[in-house]
């Protein structure tokens, strides 16, 4: 329900920025998945480089630490033949007092073409997209507790590859929904793509207010919430964001909301297990489940490259058309 839908789309309805899943059409999400599919196939070839973005410069602007997201964006950009500049802003300009806008203006002056932004505050990517030069595309790589759209799309890609279709699927998202930008993007994506039911399972301390308004059913008991579920998405406990007493202990959390072999049996037999990583083994998920046959956690990582290649190429091509 983003009021300013056009911020993400150009006048032709094509993706110019990728800031949030919310407000996008099913056809656009499907286009991302289809494009990613073509890159996934190509990635299996011996030469994994495509000249689509040759001569373009992409800046990874990470105001927050990240390893895998940053690495997969770098790899995706490299495979598209773009030049990539990775900046850890947390330890550079802003720590010297420079404002977010000044940082953006300076990088703009270096004639770059795309910003991939991760920031600890919700809305930061929107702010940059609104204030950056029109020729620059902005990809949200996670903003505060808001959205992480490429992570959600790689999850959708993984689900579609295993389950073929979203129709009829029941999906449970388990854990720290309150702080999870991934969960918000996943919820929007699953609803847009036509999943049968999206459930969230968590203690009340880890759920945002009126979470049902996002289009989910709410469970506080894992053993009830996992019944008849086809996909289980476990979330990381974001301890770095927990500034007040949200949980008594990790062991109690695992007892109530951790995914063990016993709990996994409650879900449908062919239920797939996902986790955006990094995993806290024995806290959110047992090792036997994380490494077990129903887990697709490492496939998610692999798929992340293809999906990010798809999003980057679509946004950049949109800008090339505009030029």
């Amino acid at each position: 329900m983003l009021a300013n839908k056009n911020l993400q789309l150009n006048s032709l309805g094509k993706l110019q920025h990728f800031l949030s899943i919310e407000g996008l059409q099913k056809s656009l999400l499907t286009e991302i998945l289809d494009t990613a599919e073509s890159f996934a196939d190509m990635s299996e070839q011996q030469v994994k480089k495509f000249p689509l973005l040759r001569g373009k410069t992409i800046v990874n602007l990470f105001f927050e630490n990240s390893t895998r997201t940053r690495a997969t964006f770098e790899l995706a950009a490299t495979r598209l033949s773009a030049d990539i500049l990775s900046m850890n802003i947390a330890t550079s300009a802003t720590s010297k007092g420079e404002s977010l806008l000044d940082t953006i203006r300076n990088l703009e002056a270096m004639q770059v073409d795309m910003f991939v932004v991760r920031h600890s505050l919700s809305g930061a990517a929107h702010f940059i997209a609104e204030n950056a030069a029109p020729r620059i595309s902005v990809i949200n790589a996670g903003d505060g507790q808001h959205e992480h759209p490429t992570q959600a799309m790689l999850d959708m890609f993984t689900i579609r590859r295993v389950k073929q279709s979203f129709s009829g699927l029941r999906i449970a998202i388990v854990g720290d929904i309150l702080h999870s930008r991934v969960a918000r993007s996943q919820i929007h994506a699953l609803n847009i793509l036509g999943a049968e039911e999206v459930r969230v399972i968590a203690p009340k301390t880890l759920l945002p207010a009126q979470v049902e308004s996002l289009g989910v059913s709410v469970y506080h008991d894992l053993t009830v919430g996992l019944k008849n579920v086809d996909v289980i998405i476990m979330l990381r406990l974001q301890k770095e964001r927990m500034n007040s007493a949200l949980l008594p202990s990790e062991s109690e959390y695992f007892k109530c909301f951790g995914l063990s072999d016993d709990k996994l049996k409650i879900a449908n037999k062919d239920a797939m297990v996902m986790h955006p990583g990094p995993i806290n083994r024995g806290v959110e998920i047992s090792s036997s489940v994380a490494d077990g046959p129903q887990s697709v956690i490492l496939q998610q990582v692999t798929n992340g490259i293809a999906v990010r290649m798809a999003v980057m190429s679509m946004a950049m091509q949109c800008n090339m058309r505009t030029e």
């Binding site: 404002s99 920031h119 505050l121 809305g123 929107h126 702010f127 903003d143 808001h146 308004s213 996002l214």
Partner: protein, 424 residues
Amino acid sequence: MRIEIVNGHIIDPRNDVNKQAGIYIEDGKVVAIGKAPEGFAPQTRIDAQGQIVCPGFIDLSARLREPGQVHKASIQSETRAAASAGFTSLCIPPDTKPVIDTPAVLELIKDKAEQCAYTHIYPIAALTHKLAGKELSSMYALKQAGCIAVGHAQTPVQNLLILRRAMEYAATHDLLLMYCPQERALSYQGCAHEGAMASRYGLPGIPVAAETIALMQCIELIDLTGCRVHFRGLSSKRSVVIMAKAKQLGLPVSADVAMHHLHLTDADMLPYNSHYHVSPPLRSQQDKEALLSGVKNGTIDAVCSDHQPHDIDAKLGAFPETEPGMSTLETVLPLMLRLVEQGHLDLAKGIEILSASPAKILTINTGHLAVGSVADICVFDVNTDWQINGETWQSQGQNTPFWQKTMRGKVTTTIQAGKIIYSQ
């Protein structure tokens, strides 16, 4: 200076006047209504044909940003803006830099306002030294220097014992406490109403309970200490219910709401538009409706601007890191008229909540137009449309979500103590 305002429609809610008549001013006071006193020779004649003539508006909370933050606004710029919006008096919260906790700072602000010669200024002194919430301020000296009340702006008092002592001491000197209820532990790092919209945008929420718990604690302390308290900037339905009960108990309480909380809800927030970042946050439709009912039935006594002008940089950033507050003085009248147009209030009530009611809370003899009263007067045209833009806007702070919007209702003349401080 002798002024006559003729052909206008006078609305003076406190004195139950609602009629077309002339009003005559001399030596800063109203000397007659209806017929000019014998031998009255006006130096200035204002023809208010088709316009409303009413008491000048009294604002219970307006930040002028001076001293300390003149890059945002100044006493000169904001009192001029206030005059253009029909205000004749402004209450200034103590969170200036330095804080209003000594007679020197208080006098500095009053002197500067007098030099500017627009609206009258009523400083609210700090309840505790430097607003640190630990040591009591010199309330008696501050009262002697002319503070109208004591308050704590939006910073917390360290604990309830200190609040109790501060209220007892304020009561000792018969000082009104203007209190913004907010339990900091519950609102910590929040920037939006805790509800569906905050969840959707991933914004840290401020629950209604952050306000109501602080409100109830303070009400208990009123019963204990006898301190007169005016609750500033209520934002929720629950607060209206609590206020109604406190009044039923006969406690010395009053309350106000900011005008924007009667018009905007969290659902109006455009995604990450920092102009909607205010404290307390814009709440739900239910809360807005209850606040309106509270104003209508008198549970909420007055409406204020809660004017908070900012510089551009303060609002330029990701929503949670921007500074809360809107620049609002100039939208108060048109927004009040919008409530009248929507049928929520009649015009007399709309004027009362901006003039007679604040005067009653502050126990000052303005906010009405009886013969002999101070000639603080606002003349406005209910039918004039104007657009908010760089040419019409007077405040230095352009941080309003109504920018570029068309407003209906415009002040044409403002008179403070018999002197014209604004004329269109």
